[in-house]
């Protein structure tokens, strides 16, 4: 992919025309939340402000997700050029890659890609300065408002939405925040166009996606798959022949049992995902898996809102108490109600999503939790 030429082509095409191409392509954010990328760039483009920002969310931290690391390791140039493309379209002169501390070893590659791009941008007459901001070990900073808080020098505590970053983002300015993979997809669309892009995937989930596959598999790693496939098809290709459950979408996703594989679609019309696919065979204890997720969330909760801060603690304490027979089996139903409350009352996606894995594991594997 000759990123420099692609940029030239987009400049010839025109900003409004390229926004339309992005909208037509149906590209949705590849971090998992799935907001239409064309719309996001359009809003920032149309917001009047002298200062705007483009930020790459490279805080990949969802358990089981490692595709952004691979992209940054092997296709860094597409990421930084995708950011420059966004900056050109929306009118931003400054950008940041928010790189998680755990990926600091990628800094040199990133800096080299940025330097190489800088030379070309100067010849193209594009004024875009790209910096790197580092995280310091907080899963919640993958949430865009927490990420912005972190960049502004505060605890990574999510803020209320609205206002959305597109209107009021970094330092209060209109900001595009997109996932690593999303920027790469924007470059792919600049290359092949929206018609070609839509040949893969389904009506609701256009294009292809990178999946991070790990666990009890016949093959593990990062794979590019068409969106909209059934979980059965996935397990047939990647499972080890004894697959009991697949966790789709990380710890904040859903645990799908064997009986649901053929009914479950991997995509925005089924289970949307940032691409984390963890495969468990019949040797695995669903109780251990659940306890591991709840411990994760209890630690990573930012703590500012009671439903999540206390809810995560209570869910963890609760399942342990049921397992140890300190509480009756029926207590699980109380905990399910709590998970529902967290879904409605939590301030951000972390608290809202804890219930996903919790409910799907309790509902499908209750006997493993109580016995």
């Amino acid at each position: 992919m000759d990123c420099n030429s692609l940029m030239r082509n987009v400049m010839k095409m025109g900003k409004d025309e390229f926004v339309q191409v992005l909208l037509d392509s149906g590209l949705k954010g590849r971090g998992g939340a799935g907001f239409p990328t064309g719309l996001k760039w359009k809003i920032v483009k149309e917001t009047k402000s002298d200062i705007k920002y483009v930020i790459c969310n490279a805080d990949e931290g969802e358990p089981g997700t490692f595709k952004d690391r691979e992209i940054l390791d092997k296709s860094c140039d597409k990421v930084v050029w995708g950011m420059a493309l966004a900056a050109y379209i929306v009118g931003a002169k400054e950008g940041y890659v928010y790189l998680r501390a755990e990926y600091k070893f990628l800094t040199t590659k990133l800096r080299i890609a940025i330097d190489n791009m800088d030379n070309h941008l100067r010849s193209l007459g594009i004024n875009f300065k790209l910096n790197i901001a580092f995280g310091s070990g907080a899963y919640i900073c993958g949430e865009e408002t927490a990420l912005l808080q972190s960049m502004e020098g505060y605890r990574g505590e999510p803020t209320n939405k609205p206002p959305y970053p597109v209107n009021f983002g970094y330092l209060g300015k209109p900001t595009v925040v997109n996932n690593v993979e999303t920027f790469v997809n924007a470059m792919i669309i600049a290359d092949i166009g929206s018609v070609e892009y839509k040949k893969l995937g389904t009506k609701a989930s256009q294009g292809s996606k990178l999946f991070s596959v790990s666990g009890d598999c016949c093959k593990e790693g990062v794979f590019e798959l068409e969106m909209g496939m059934t979980l059965q098809a996935f397990v047939d290709e990647f499972g080890d022949g004894d697959t009991k459950a697949v966790q789709v979408g990380g710890a904040s996703g859903f645990c799908v049992p064997r009986k649901e594989f053929s009914k479950t679609i991997i995509g925005y019309e089924g289970i949307p995902t940032g691409g984390s696919m963890k495969v468990f065979n019949s040797s695995r204890s669903m109780y251990n898996i659940l306890e591991n997720y709840l411990t994760f969330f209890e630690e990573e909760s930012c703590g500012q809102c009671t439903p999540c801060r206390v809810g995560t603690q209570q869910l963890l304490k609760g399942v342990r108490a049921v397992k140890r027979k300190e509480k009756p089996k029926s207590y699980l139903d109380e905990l399910l109600k709590l998970a529902d409350t967290m879904k409605y009352a939590s301030k951000c996606g972390l608290g809202k999503s804890v219930g996903n894995a919790f409910k799907s594991i309790i509902e499908n594997f209750r006997e493993e939790i109580v016995y």
Partner: protein, 154 residues
């Protein structure tokens, strides 16, 4: 223990003295001194004209910004589910056997600290660990010992 005042002043020259300068300054102080003690946090607060409580409150949120004494080499072993399934406990045991510290502890010579950490993004090649910024995956107890021996020699 060297006085951090000048070092921090230079960091403020480099990153600025605004609130958004705080994170990069905290990160570089931890890189240099391995953790943030009262004196360093006070100096940062002075440079940025914010309260020390604010500096501490921000730093303490982030697991990589140590606010208690920490070793020169920070060993962080992933404990999230896939690495756990891939026997991360054997790796922890190997470190404990070689260095004599358990998770949460620092060696007497303050050279190494051992901690658990959450998903490092190497699930397909677990178990994995970080030693400072370097990442090591596909670990076995023997590999870990070899890796640590190379650090012991440093």
């Amino acid at each position: 223990m060297s006085n951090s005042e000048e070092f921090i002043s230079q960091l403020a020259d480099k990153y600025g003295r605004k609130r958004e300068s705080l994170m990069p300054i905290l990160q570089e102080v931890v890189d240099q001194y391995y953790y943030l003690n009262d004196e360093r946090m006070l100096n940062i607060a002075k440079e940025l004209d914010i309260s020390t409580a604010d500096v501490y409150g921000t730093a303490s949120f982030y697991s990589f910004l140590n606010t208690t004494p920490h070793g020169k080499y920070s060993i962080k072993i992933c404990k999230t589910i896939i690495c756990d399934m891939k026997h991360k406990e054997d790796i922890v045991d190997a470190v404990t056997e070689l260095l004599g510290i358990k998770p949460g502890e620092t060696t007497h010579d303050e050279k190494f600290s051992l901690d658990y950490i959450n998903c490092l993004g190497w699930c397909h090649k677990g178990p994995a660990m970080l030693i400072n910024d370097e990442c090591y995956a596909e670990l076995t107890p023997q590999k870990v010992k070899d890796i640590l021996l190379s650090y012991i020699k440093k």
